[in-house]
Structures are given as structure tokens and as C-alpha cells.
């Protein structure tokens, strides 16, 4: 029997597979098609202070080996997440839950982290700093090390659970930003969020997405994500949740060899509702084939 357990800042996952925020709803709906307790954890849809409708339609476009989304952080707001969504998930899911938090100001991050951190079920807080930073004029908090560090310090001051900063790949030097987060007290790093992309509709000659640009994810971005995990692993000593295009157990092993302690699966769930399940189930066989007994042993093994 192979050992698939991994350890994220003291939180033990039975395996490293975590459906990525925004691609698995609030999780419970997947419980209707399979037992989601086989998953290591779940990162729930990004939550903001207030209810958000998000962007106008269309929000989705297809790309070669991937997709663009411009959901715009639609979510019911933190109060409803706490009062309705988390209890529903808890009923069908007994494993650690990762709460994904977004904000348009430092205040909003702090508010959400403080509230959600009190929830017993939530064992890790994932702070998405890829959303636009309104103060700095629309660039996201995650694209400059100073801003990333500022958010980290602020949320660490109030968060009752380990805080993982989720980084944007639309940057010149991701290692620098990760290092700034570590320095500011982050317990771990999640990466990557989506690469900004777009498509144009040849029928009306306008951008497909109402928002013009959207976030690219899926297998297309896997090599970029892997490289960034590699670079961040060299720059920090806190755990990394690696993601970006992961679709198979092989991809999980590559991510872990590059330095990820756990791995999130995003677009793959959208393409195939059973994707995370298939990955969890094929992992032990692959480990046997590759001669891996203890999954934790391979973290960063390719360096």
C-alpha cells in the first residue's frame, strides 16, 4: 500500500488532490455524482464581503487545450457562504476544507479572513490576490511584491488558520512575489491563478467575452504553472499548492517533483465532472509503476 498523505502546515490530507476554487462550486453538488470524501480537500468558490453577480455574459470561451473564464467572482457573499454553503458542504464532506477569499481592498480581505477563519470546518484560508486592486488603479494585488506582502501581513494579523497566498502568473518574477509573501508571514503559497487571455469571435468581429479578457486555464498552461512552482520552490521554504492545467495523475507527480506539496485541479473538473475522482483513483497505480512508496518523499525531487 502506497502512502499518499501530505501535510499542509500541519493539516494532513489523505491525498494531495484538491479541486480548485471556482471549478467545483461549493462542492456538495458533486456529492450527488460521487463520494467526494475520496478527495484530499476542497477549495471552495472565492468569497467576497458582499454578494456579487460577477460579469455579464458571455463569461466563457474555448481555447486550444484550455478555456477562458471571466466569471467575475460571482458568489453569494461571505455571510451566506458561512450560513448556507459551508453547512451544506460539511454534511457531505468530512475532510479539511480550504476557504478561498477575494477582495477589492485590504479591508475586505481582512474582514473575510477573520470571519471565515472562525469556521471550524475551514482548516486553511487561501487568499486570492489576483483580483484587481482598486486602490492601485486596477492592477491586481498579486502582481507587485510590496502589495502582496501588505495583504499577507494584514490577513495574518487576524486569521485563525494557516494562510496560503494565491498568486497571479501575470508577473515578471513570481519567485520574488512568493518570497515577499513568505517574509510577510504567509504559511504557504498557492499558484497559479489564470493567465490573462482573450479570444475574438469571427462572426461579429468582437471579443468573445463581455469582459474582453478572461483567465486562461487548462492543460495549455501546465508548463507555465510547473515552471512557476519550480521557481517558487527554490525561493521559499513554506508549502506550495501547485495548480494550472493538472488533468492526470502524471501531472500531479510532475507538480510535486517541481515542488508542490498538494495539487489543485481546476478546469479539468469543468471538462469532466469525474476528473478529480479519476486522478485520486489512478494515483496509487502510478506511484507503484514509478516506484514511489511515500508521496511526500518526492516533493521537490526534480531539483
Amino acid at each position: 500500500m502506497v502512502d499518499t498523505r501530505v501535510n499542509l502546515s500541519g493539516v494532513i490530507l489523505s491525498n494531495p488532490i484538491i479541486p480548485a476554487s471556482g471549478t467545483f462550486g461549493f462542492g456538495y453538488e458533486f456529492a450527488e455524482i460521487y463520494d467526494i470524501n475520496i478527495l484530499g480537500s476542497i477549495s471552495i468558490k472565492g468569497t467576497t464581503r458582499e454578494l456579487r453577480f460577477g460579469n455579464e455574459q458571455p463569461r466563457i470561451a474555448e481555447t486550444p487545450c484550455g478555456m477562458l473564464n471571466a466569471i467575475g467572482l460571482q458568489n453569494p457573499g461571505i455571510d451566506k457562504v458561512i450560513s448556507e454553503e459551508l453547512p451544506k458542504l460539511r454534511k457531505v464532506f468530512k475532510k479539511p476544507i480550504i476557504a478561498n477569499i477575494s477582495g477589492f481592498s485590504i479591508d475586505e480581505y481582512v474582514y473575510c479572513c477573520e470571519l471565515i477563519g472562525k469556521e471550524e470546518q475551514v482548516e486553511i484560508i487561501e487568499v486570492n490576490i489576483s483580483c484587481p486592486n482598486v486602490k492601485e488603479g486596477g492592477m491586481s494585488f498579486g502582481t507587485l511584491p510590496e502589495n502582496a506582502a501588505e495583504v499577507t501581513r494584514a490577513v495574518k494579523a487576524v486569521a485563525k488558520k494557516p494562510v496560503y497566498m494565491k498568486l497571479s502568473p501575470n508577473v515578471r518574477d513570481i519567485a520574488e512575489i512568493a518570497a515577499a509573501c513568505e517574509e510577510a508571514g504567509a504559511d504557504g503559497i498557492s499558484l497559479i491563478n489564470t493567465l490573462t487571455g482573450m479570444r475574438i469571435n469571427l462572426n461579429n468581429m468582437k471579443p468573445v467575452l463581455n469582459n474582453i479578457t478572461g483567465g486562461l486555464s487548462g492543460p495549455a498552461v501546465f508548463p507555465v504553472a510547473l515552471r512557476m512552482v519550480w521557481e517558487v520552490y527554490e525561493a521559499v521554504s513554506i508549502p506550495i499548492i501547485g495548480m494550472g492545467g493538472v488533468s492526470t495523475a502524471e501531472d500531479v507527480i510532475e507538480m510535486m517533483l517541481a515542488g508542490a506539496t498538494a495539487v489543485s485541479v481546476g478546469a479539468a473538473n469543468i471538462k469532466d465532472p469525474y476528473a478529480s475522482k479519476n486522478i485520486v483513483e489512478s494515483l496509487p497505480d502510478l506511484m507503484n509503476k514509478l516506484g514511489i512508496n511515500k508521496l511526500e518523499d518526492i516533493i521537490g525531487g526534480a531539483h
Binding site: T23, K45, G66, D272
Partner: protein, 266 residues
Amino acid sequence: MKCNGGSPGDCFRAVGEKGTIKMKKSIFTILSNRKLAKNTYEMVLKGDVSAIKRPGQFINIALDGFYLRRPISVCDWDKDSATIIYKVVGKGTEYMSKLSEGAELEVLSGLGNGYDTEESGVNPLLIGGGSGIPPLYALAKELIAQGKKPTVILGFNSKDEVFYKDEFSALGARVLITTADGSLGIKGFATDAFESAGDYTYTYACGPEPMLKAVYNTSVTDGQYSFEQRMGCGFGACMGCVCRTKYGYKRICREGPVLVKEEIVW
């Protein structure tokens, strides 16, 4: 079909299959794939149709070489096969049109709420435009099986695009055809046939948004309107297809594609 306010999910549970997704992932085999009209094809798929419960539901088809699935309404189904009708509008549907008998497709079936036939009354009016027509076929079939007398308005651009006229008639429905260029039936849009349709007890519509809106404005009864939206997952996970309604935000793939008239926000 009554829709109460509430968050996405609630509404679905109130009207759909009582909160349980019947979605199934399985392999279907192509029994036939033939051209019906200009750019329009009919494909019959053999496989496990047990998840398909209502007219107006759709299936989501994985195609080799395309990352996202293609959502297509179920036009008809029996115990072990389902029929779809699709228009070639891009690379994915073009690829579909070239598939041969015997080819296998991986499909998610049983998606969406579908039409509710309970409140139709005796003389429901069914209005479809172009590639919005297919789901009305199974709907007309079910209504007729329930002893109702539907009138069906089928709107096309031109005669060479007309399909399933005879099939609808064969079901026993009264059929009115409109073409934008007047090459067949009534000249004009589907709504231009309202007068000829006479009295009706309820309205079912499916088609492009401008048509739905015209029907909404013309129809004097309650009704159900089926919407299209670009989809990510097709089963409720990604929030890709969400629209505003009077009772909150709804996922077209799950609380839809069918919305009741009273909740629609244009």
C-alpha cells in the same frame, strides 16, 4: 412550473428532479448522422438514456480536439437512443457533421431542468426558431400523449433551412411555418404567425434571444422560455452560464435552460 425566489439551487430543487442530479456520463454510439436541411444535421445516438427525463433537457458532448463540450438539446428519445438536431455554426459542430455511423461520443446526459407540461392547458402554443426547434419535438410528443392539442410555429430564415415540418405534423400537431424571406409558409418571423395560430392556453418557446423576447412581448399567456448561453461545465459547477432572473441568479445549465415567463429579466 412555479419558481420561488432564493439562491441558485433552491429554485432548481423546487421544480426539477427534487434535488438529485440525474446527470450521467457515458458513451453513446452514432446510429445515424444525416443532413436535414442547409447546415442542419440530425444525429441518432444509441446508449444509456436513463438520465433523460424531460423535453427541453440537453446533453453535453465531448469532441476530440476540443476542450469544452458542446451542449445540444435532446430532440427525442426512446428506451435506448436519443436524437439531436444541430446546426453547423463553428468548428465543433462542423466536426460533428463529419462523424460517421459507429463512431463513439462521450456524453453527459440528463442536464438542465427541461419543460414542465403540467400547466400547459389544452391548447398550448409551441414556438421555435432555427436550432431552437429540436427540443419542441419531444415536448409536442409528450403534450399530445397527454391528450393536449398543441399548435407549433416553426420559424426559419428560408425554405432551404426548413426541417421536421412533416415530423411535427405526423405527431398530430398543428404546424405553422414562417420564413423570413417568405419562401415557405407565412412571410416573417415566428411571432408573425401568432394571429394564424388562434387561441392558446400556454406558451413554450425556444430559439435565439431576439425571438424569445419577441414571443415574450407578443404572447398573452404564461409560458416557459428556453435560453442558450455559452457554457463551461454544463452541470452547475463553474458559474459560466449564470443569468439574472427576478428571483435571483440562475445557472442556465441547471436552474435552466427553461425559465418561466414571470421570472425573466431582459
